[in-house]
Symmetry: C2
Amino acid sequence: MFKRQTKGMINIDPLQTGGKLTEEAKRALIEWGDGYSVCDFCTGKLDEIRNPPIHDFVHKTLPEFIGCDVARITTGAREAKFAVMHSLAKKDAWIVIDSNAHYSSFVSAERAKLNIAEVPNSGYPDFLISAEKFAEVLEETKRKGEVVLALITYPDGNYGNLPDVKKIAKICQDYDVPLLVNAAYAIGRMPIKLKEIGADFIVGSGHKSMASSGPIGVLGMKAEWEEVVLRKSSRFKNKEIELLGCTARGASIITMMASFPAVKERVKRWEDEVRKARYFSAKMEEMGIIQLGEKPHNHDLMFFQAEKLYEMSKSMKDGRFFLYRELKRRGIHGIKPGLTRFFKLSTYGLSYEEVEAVLTAFREITEGKVQG
Amino acid sequence: MFKRQTKGMINIDPLQTGGKLTEEAKRALIEWGDGYSVCDFCTGKLDEIRNPPIHDFVHKTLPEFIGCDVARITTGAREAKFAVMHSLAKKDAWIVIDSNAHYSSFVSAERAKLNIAEVPNSGYPDFLISAEKFAEVLEETKRKGEVVLALITYPDGNYGNLPDVKKIAKICQDYDVPLLVNAAYAIGRMPIKLKEIGADFIVGSGHKSMASSGPIGVLGMKAEWEEVVLRKSSRFKNKEIELLGCTARGASIITMMASFPAVKERVKRWEDEVRKARYFSAKMEEMGIIQLGEKPHNHDLMFFQAEKLYEMSKSMKDGRFFLYRELKRRGIHGIKPGLTRFFKLSTYGLSYEEVEAVLTAFREITEGKVQG
């Protein structure tokens, strides 16, 4: 039996804080763990299954939750991005992507054989993506060739910055370029609706932010894109080509559905999460650990610069691994082994006691209360 | 809480008999259910993770098990097929596919924008794919344009037929066309090795035949294809483009690993499974229910023709749904609601008591011991 070493620890890994299963999802996982379990009463298409009630989840609950006309379940956010890019791609065409985008946005574009134009961020220390820069790069790229899609990451997974996505959507509309919002760190954490943004596509991650067992993602779009992205096979009339027929054909979709009521509720408490993150950030700065990215911060994912820890690491016997080791022995997991100077973390879903425990750990470590 | 209605029933759905979790996998599912759980100690690539020991599973255990040089985990068999097709696709190029192929093979080819040439089967009642026909279609198609890939389904998911895959591999080699073996109903059920077949790619399904929680699949290939199919991103040097970086980033991979020792063992008992299927088939035929496809049969997936049940359905108050209802009240699940004349089923993993219970049910039903 493979044991999970980090079980029971305080988890501050941004990848993981929003993906912890609810108790309902854990029960659903056991009930539906067997391969192809959800296909007991399938009539040919995952999103049409009525027992369990996948149909209602995909066609009513989800579109309402993310404010879109049409939604589908995918095997992940990256697979959703690729499906859109692959549908829109043309020979020699371009995609405009913010430079804070997740690596999988770039790799998806590469897989779809699109030329990539990058919108630079403002650099150290804020790393902001401005609507003006977005417009500038769109303008330049339009001169080079056809721009079939733009992508904005909201928020990005490095700094947790939330760009002015409505303004960017307006700009893309003016340039007649469809916009995809990668909301892998938004959907399931904070309120977000495609229609309010005014973009064309929105993508979310179940295992990252919707308390689901992976791999699973969601894809929402405006009605006008349904025929393009969800086009049907010429040979099998009910199979959507980009989804290869069916996607999350297993327990993952059930965990998303089982967690959904709790996820819907937690999104309403988003302001508390932001308040908690800002409190955490302020306390870290009191220790001389500087938060980079937007300030005041608007998301639980935060990036820090800790010169002091970096200096300390130089004299430690396990060098740059000392921070990981010190946090581990205090029951805290989530900062990548080997990082000391720059690292990201997330306070999402942490109780105030857990936040204090993490702060105490950093305080002790920066004060030199460490082993060897 | 969503309850699974079919729990505790005898399951003869071919989609599901090979995907039932082992007890080890169920425990692993709970231990690793949280989103992105396997990424606790990730250094940038799913197949390189050493805790849990995914690295060894992907790079040692799996290649040995399916007899290939290089293996990867995918989000399913269909996603593996698409990755290969998309890597090999060229403008106006062709793929040759056996007509017994799963719909997702055709849809994958459509998604990869390949022209499809179909190798017809021998028709009723055996529906065989012959090596000769395969050669013929290859020959014809080569005259129309470049054939970048051939695909053979071993066995197919309708009749459970096992074509002469070695002979077909030899033919493809002679024509210099790479061959992909879709072994979604083979890997994890029966002994099969890519090298013994002599093909280029092999694809399997975790949730279909490897006692895994979906969606998850495996892809094996000859070393010479690694640079083509697993080519790296130009921007992110350790990310494989076709896999979008990482695939089964969650509990599914752990269930496959946890079930693996049992799966490896059960494959050794394949002859018992074939014997059981043949026994079942013979008993069904005694009732006048005819098994189509290869005879004697060589796989647990069998297709039947039951004129008697079809005739009975005409006078039933719920018509063609009577067979489903009658099996259900006898605790048997897996034949699609509404089918009476033609249906498929699987005896995989059933105990002899369960086999007898299914046979008794069909005997009673064909003898008219039914409600209303």
